[in-house]
């Protein structure tokens, strides 16, 4: 094998850094959408590398549903400080009040869908022309067709039939005023790639990604953490389990998995052996309709 050879993680890293630099060069006001999850943490790490020794030339933006894991919020603040990036936080709670939106009701009333309103308001407030997200094509069917540079209209809408062809590594980010581009630098990474990269680069993660004891209820085969955000009924049994999270979203729509994996190596072993996909195991909201993601994306979701 030639000495000029990159392994797959190095190739993915090089591609993502190239994308980050294109964003910085092509757009006036980009923003990195930061959720506190492992994918956006990896994004921040890649951005740091892309612009080192300079600092990341755009803010980290968190659309805060108010239903976050406290561990993820603490991690967010610490990371922003560490990489010396500006942090913009906009709360879904405020959008609900300002726009008099109706909150979904029910057992696991999720503000996931309402985030879109806050996101679009934030884009308008700051005039962001590119929003960088940590979506991966392996996550979900509608994501598999997503471009790396995905143009959205003034309403933030995605039209799957009018995607720009994306050839070689050439990214066309030209847009009209009012439009914006969602950019996904880790499109070609899989869940396992992210974990292997986190291990290789020694990237820190919020503690909830590792095994810990938590009070949960079992609901339709999924374990939901007991918190002030969900409704615990008389018929529910609260149990204590050793769990960890495979994804970190809202407490209302992310399920825990039973696990004793306390280190990165143990987590990677568990995922390698896992026979259920990340979204299938941990996202409560995607089960609602077959085309849930397709619908949300068309309406301006990440």
């Amino acid at each position: 094998m030639s000495k000029y050879h990159l392994d797959y993680l190095e190739q993915l890293e090089a591609e993502s850094i190239h994308i980050f630099r294109e964003i910085a060069a092509q757009f006036e006001k980009p923003a990195l959408l930061f959720s506190g999850g492992k994918d956006s943490i990896t994004l921040v790490h890649l951005a740091k590398k892309a612009f080192a020794p300079g600092r990341i030339p755009f803010p980290l933006v968190h659309i805060d549903t108010g239903h976050n894991f406290p561990e993820a919020l603490a991690y967010r603040d610490q990371l922003a400080e560490e990489v010396k990036a500006d942090l913009v936080v906009r709360k879904v709670e405020d959008t609900i009040k300002q726009r008099d939106l109706t909150e979904p009701k029910g057992k696991f009333a999720s503000r996931n869908w309402l985030q879109t309103y806050t996101l679009l308001d934030t884009i308008e407030e700051f005039g962001f022309d590119a929003c960088i997200g940590g979506a991966r094509r392996d996550e979900e069917k509608a994501r598999a067709k997503e471009r790396i540079f995905s143009v959205r209209d003034e309403f933030g809408q995605w039209n799957p039939k009018l995607q720009r062809p994306e050839l070689w590594g050439i990214y066309n980010g030209r847009i009209h005023k009012g439009e914006n581009v969602r950019v996904f630098p880790i499109s070609n990474w899989t869940e396992l790639d992210i974990w292997n990269y986190i291990r290789k680069e020694n990237i820190g993660l919020p503690s909830i990604y590792f095994s810990h004891e938590r009070e949960v209820i079992a609901h339709e085969g999924q374990l939901i953490a007991v918190s002030g955000f969900i409704q615990v009924d008389d018929t529910d049994t609260v149990i204590k389990k050793r769990v960890r999270y495979r994804t970190v979203g809202d407490m209302t729509c992310t399920a825990a998995v039973e696990s004793a994996a306390a280190t990165l190596d143990e987590v990677i072993n568990e995922i390698t052996a896992a026979r259920i996909s990340e979204r299938g195991e941990t996202r409560i909201d995607d089960k609602v309709t077959e085309a849930a993601m397709e619908d949300r994306k068309k309406n301006g979701y990440f």
């Binding site: 062809p165 050839l167 847009i175 026979r275 077959e290």
Partner: protein, 413 residues
Amino acid sequence: MDLLRFITAGSVDDGKSTLIGRLLYDSKNILVDQLEALEKQTRNKEAGVIDLALLTDGLRAEREQGITIDVAYRYFSTPQRKFIIADAPGHVQYTRNMITGASNANLIIILVDARQGVVEQTRRHSIIASLLKIPHVVVAVNKMDLVEYSQDVYNNILIDYAEVAKQLGLKDVTYIPISALNGDNIVDRSSVIDWYEGKPLLQLLEEVEIGRDINHADARFQVQLVIRPQTTDLHDYRGYAGKVASGVYRKGDKVTVLPANIETSISKLEIGGEEKEEVFAPQSVIIHLADDIDISRGDSIVKTDDQPQVANELEVLLCWLDEKPLQPGNKYYLQHNSRLLRAVVKQVEYKLDVNTLQQLPVEAGVKLNEVVKATIKTASPLVYDSYAKNQADGSAILVDETSNNTVAAVLLQ
């Protein structure tokens, strides 16, 4: 572990989706919940067995119409390799999607229906593979179960395709008889097709030599952006960030900045903040130069003793990708990696028939999915190689000034 990107091409009913589903399923890359969703959908369609083709149907719009409308990307890995599949639809009108999917591919699987043999679509897909210079071609003769696994049928298709390959100058062509539906020769060697002595498809994909697919001879680098932190501790820092498109750069190399044509040398190389003695394609790096030169985005830094072409009148092949036809004389932007230049398509010489390779006269405008030979004039000189010599530096796109759409794939000649 390395990375292989491949594309699958076939006509509408050649069993392409079934093949991809089979590859994912038999290599155990389909998970329990995905399988459950599949079973549910299959039952809806009242078929008996799980329909593996459904795995690759993405959007509801497609499922309703039972078609694939766009390139979808699939991921799977084995202990040997990580694979990225560009799944491009086979319809006549979607040549543009195939070109998109093929532009990054190391390898193409061309599916041939054993009952149909080499048809017009097979030729078209092969011509696109040859235009885009995809290094490795696998001809998978599918539905062998429907021709009673006949070696004669298979051999005749081989003879027919060898003609096509010869005409197109395809070098690395491998043939394999399969049944995607039954899993013959996909992951394991088929016990029924006992006359076939080659590798099953997955093993072939795992073992094809791709180290030489990248051009490591001609050093090419374009500046994406200039990194100037301008902080107290990094006051004089000035680095040129970009991707090594091809070749190798070493500290101390004598280089020329183009198109300005200024000579200097490399004083420092960095990757992600770490200093390196040498860097190579496709790494994303930072180059420092010994002299202070006015350099901006899109400028090229190349080795002084191996320089690309510099010209503003360009012979190109254009694959037209937009609904709106090409109007010769119209202005576009030519985007060559990170360099954006105003450009005008001056003359369209001929249209290439993608079924026969015949050169046809251009009567009306150039329409979606058509491939033409043309001359482009750019506002300033372009620094490039021919696509045949160096794909990474010989490819570009045209962007419509008014719609901002990507309207053409450009292969520099």
